[in-house]
């Protein structure tokens, strides 16, 4: 899909990360994400998926290798991060939470109003602008969190197991919506999960990681066009992809055990 000469938006080359404690968290990770592409990191807990995201966001630096990402340039608002929890400010209304990134850029409430309301409308939260996070359900909180991430029109969206704490029904609904928002904005997405079905449904590419030290063991390209309908979830193709990832994940875990 990528043009042979175009430089990827995000590129990690032979990146390793050793924590201060001496633990080798990542070893020789190389990966790239193109503009508009949806890439998922799939792996067991503790395989360093989150560390990869933090490096791309410029919140952590590698011990060896190089990271090229928009957050590491002067391009200030090109990166957005969605955490495992909604991470909203509990003392601020939904409006104020979504306004935050614009506010930090120096945009007043008046200047941001139409933009924030349009964004809230597009995720179905327009009636909750003045509600506080404690008054929302888990799914709605996550919607607000994603809206906050998308408000600056980022080039890359980093998501660290955002739907891990939600029930299956809400997770599926949010997967559908996320894909729609992502496609509308053509925002490149680096998504972390340990849920195989979620990885297959959302991604163009899935990178399977093993733990201790974190390594990419397998890459699977999901050659399915967007938009992906709920019917895709029940198709044989979907099941085959899931099976392939399941085998790869098992093999990754086996390598990990024999390495210990």
């Amino acid at each position: 899909m990528r043009h042979a000469t175009a430089k990827p938006l995000v590129e990690l080359s032979e990146v390793s990360k050793r924590f201060k404690s001496g633990t080798l968290a990542l070893s020789d990770i190389s990966l790239s994400v193109d503009a508009g592409e949806f890439v998922t990191l799939l792996g067991p807990s503790g395989c360093g998926k989150s560390t990869v995201l933090r490096m791309v966001a410029g919140l952590d630096s590698p011990s060896a290798g190089s990271v090229h990402a928009p957050a590491l340039t002067t391009d200030k608002d090109s990166t957005a991060f969605v955490f495992q929890e909604a991470t909203l400010m509990p003392w601020a209304s939904v409006f104020d939470n979504v306004w935050l990134p614009l506010r930090l850029q120096g945009l007043s409430q008046r200047e941001s109003k139409s933009r924030v309301f349009a964004a809230l409308k597009s995720v179905g939260l327009e009636d909750f602008a003045s509600s506080f996070p404690s008054q929302l359900s888990g799914g709605m909180r996550m919607r607000a969190s994603i809206t906050r991430a998308l408000i600056t029109d980022p080039k890359i969206l980093l998501m660290d197991e955002p739907f891990g704490a939600l029930d299956d029904f809400t997770r599926q609904k949010l997967n559908d919506d996320l894909l729609r928002w992502q496609q509308e904005r053509a925002v490149a997405t680096l998504f972390v999960t340990h849920n195989i079905a979620e990885a297959v449904f959302l991604s163009q590419r899935v990178l399977v990681m093993q733990a201790r030290p974190g390594k990419i063991m397998h890459t699977l390209r999901i050659n399915e066009p967007y938009p992906r309908t709920p019917a895709f979830r029940t198709s044989m193709t979907f099941l085959n992809y899931c099976r392939e990832l399941s085998v790869a994940l098992e093999r990754a875990m086996l390598t990990e055990t024999s390495a210990q």
Partner: protein
């Protein structure tokens, strides 16, 4: 309905207690200089109202003056500590020393060094009230959600934006919990210091009235002054509980946090 019961229950209890006290004293014929009946205390309060009210006003000024200084000092120093861990390590022990030294023991020294008795009383009350606010605000500033901190870093927020939009609101419930403690403490500080100072004259507070009355064995007047002190303490507590509820009402978790005293 529940709210009404919540309000009425302590009032009814208090009334019953006072009635028991009144009849107990009358029935046992206890003289007023040993234990005055509530009606005698009330009478003394009315008769001595002019002098008691002036003293009450003075005590209130010292209490709230010290509390105001404790708040501004506590917040300012906590903010500096949050910006510089080295300064916190250097100066926090001094704050602890101030806190653990009994105020009764230091007050005579302060009265020697500070010329104005009013200033000395303020200083004593401040020393007692300052620490809970400092310590709680420091904790609050430190308890900021790590992910939110990362988010602010990602959006390259300035230190001022970080303090104003993130750290200060996160620390607010902790600060308010500290304020509830310090409110009562500054009253205790103001009264204790005045007891030690043994001040007499016009510019004096309720503690001086209690001392005076005790020299003259005017027990009902002692009780009257004491009642005003108790009332002040209760009002301060109610004021800050209400303030905390107003500021944190929409933020349920935080209200629970301060109410269960987890921050203490």
């Amino acid at each position: 309905m529940k709210r009404l019961t919540d309000v009425m229950l302590p009032i009814v209890t208090l009334f019953l207690f006072a009635t028991l006290w009144e009849f107990g004293v009358r029935w046992a014929n206890i003289p007023a200089y040993t234990l005055p009946a509530p009606s005698v205390i009330l009478h003394s309060l009315i008769v001595n109202w002019t002098s008691l009210a002036a003293s009450w006003w003075f005590t209130l000024q010292i209490t709230f003056g010290a509390l105001l200084l404790a708040c501004s000092g506590g917040i300012l120093i906590a903010s500096v500590f949050s910006l510089s861990p080295a300064l916190e390590r250097a100066f926090f022990p001094i704050a602890v020393v101030l806190q653990v030294t009994p105020i009764v023991a230091v007050a005579p020294l302060i009265l020697i060094y500070v010329d104005s008795t009013t200033a000395a009383l303020l200083l004593c009350a401040w020393i007692v009230a300052f620490f809970p606010i400092l310590s709680n605000t420091v904790t609050g500033l430190r308890m900021t959600d790590r992910n939110l901190m990362d988010l602010f870093r990602l959006y390259r927020a300035s230190p001022w934006q970080r303090l104003k939009l993130l750290r200060a609101p996160s620390a607010l419930p902790y600060f308010l919990a500290g304020l509830k403690i310090s409110g009562g403490l500054s009253l205790i500080g103001a009264v204790t210091a005045e007891m030690v100072a043994g001040a007499a004259g016009r510019e004096t507070g309720l503690a001086s009235r209690i001392l005076e009355a005790s020299f003259r064995t005017e027990t009902p007047k002692m009780f009257a002054a004491l009642a005003l002190l108790v009332l002040t303490g209760v009002l301060i507590f109610m004021l800050f509980t209400a303030l905390s509820r107003v500021l944190l009402a929409h933020w349920h978790d935080a209200e629970q946090l301060t109410d269960t005293g987890r921050t203490l």
